[in-house]
């Protein structure tokens, strides 16, 4: 019996094997959206928990990676909606080696705050497209929306962000 079949049948060992295979990728994906390691860990566990509870609805012939990423994205989006006012985007996240922050600290804080004030669904699309450089097709699949809807969300996010930054006297 294949791994996904065993998982769909409720085999806990198969579930652990899938968890070990996918946890790093899912954690990384969620962290890109919520930018908070503790929340990302919590949401990673919640993703796998929901996935296990919904295993009967999973088609073993389907794309497991896409399915789990969709669940993770929805949970991350819900987290942003709930925590919109409380969560500050930390500017001290581990950066890719080439990302050398040259903006003054105060300016970075202002930009982070303006970004955090975007509606959650616009923020997710903008984070993944503009900061993380993820392909629009991948974002569309993870959010369960069309390519056009992703482009529209990024466009609206950019427009809102520019307006907020201009009110603060910041012109990128």
């Amino acid at each position: 019996m294949e791994l996904l079949d065993r998982f769909a049948a409720g085999d806990l060992e198969a579930f652990e094997e899938l968890f070990r295979q996918f946890q790093k990728a899912i954690y990384g994906w969620i962290l890109r959206i919520v930018r908070n390691p503790a929340a990302a860990e919590d949401l990673t566990m919640e993703t796998f928990l929901r996935m296990y509870r919904a295993r009967a609805r999973f088609d073993p012939q389907g794309n497991f990676g896409a399915w789990v990423r969709r669940i993770a994205t929805n949970l991350a989006l819900d987290h942003l909606r709930r925590a919109r006012r409380e969560v500050e985007l930390p500017s001290t996240m581990p950066a890719a080696p080439e990302a050398d922050p040259v903006l003054p600290h105060q300016l970075r804080e202002q930009v982070s705050r303006a970004f955090a004030q975007l509606p959650a669904k616009l923020r997710v699309a903008a984070t993944l497209a503009l900061i993380e450089d993820r392909p629009y097709e991948e974002i569309a699949e993870a959010l369960g929306i069309s390519l056009g809807a992703v482009k529209s969300r990024v466009f609206r996010a950019v427009r809102k962000l520019r307006a907020r930054l201009e009110r603060l006297g910041i012109r990128p």
Binding site: E41, P101, F115, F155
Partner: protein
């Protein structure tokens, strides 16, 4: 909006919010996941039910508010 119009904003954002590099959880999440799996399911708080009911009634009374709500969700 053209791709090249976004470029300065992209670069600016990446300086303020650096992209997340290759990363992994700081601890093994499996033991806690297993505990959650074996524990009781969290019940939906009564406040959430009230909120859902109020929202539903509001949308039934003011259906024109649906696009506004959809935009903000």
């Amino acid at each position: 909006m053209k791709e090249h119009d976004e470029k300065p904003l992209r670069d600016f954002l990446k300086q303020a919010l650096p992209p997340i590099g290759e990363t992994a959880p700081r601890r093994d999440l499996w033991p806690e996941l297993l505990r959650r799996l074996e524990g009781p399911r969290a019940a939906v708080p009564w406040f959430d039910w009230v909120l859902a009911a109020v929202t539903l009634i509001w949308l039934l009374l003011f259906p024109e508010a649906i696009p506004v709500l959809a935009y903000h969700l």
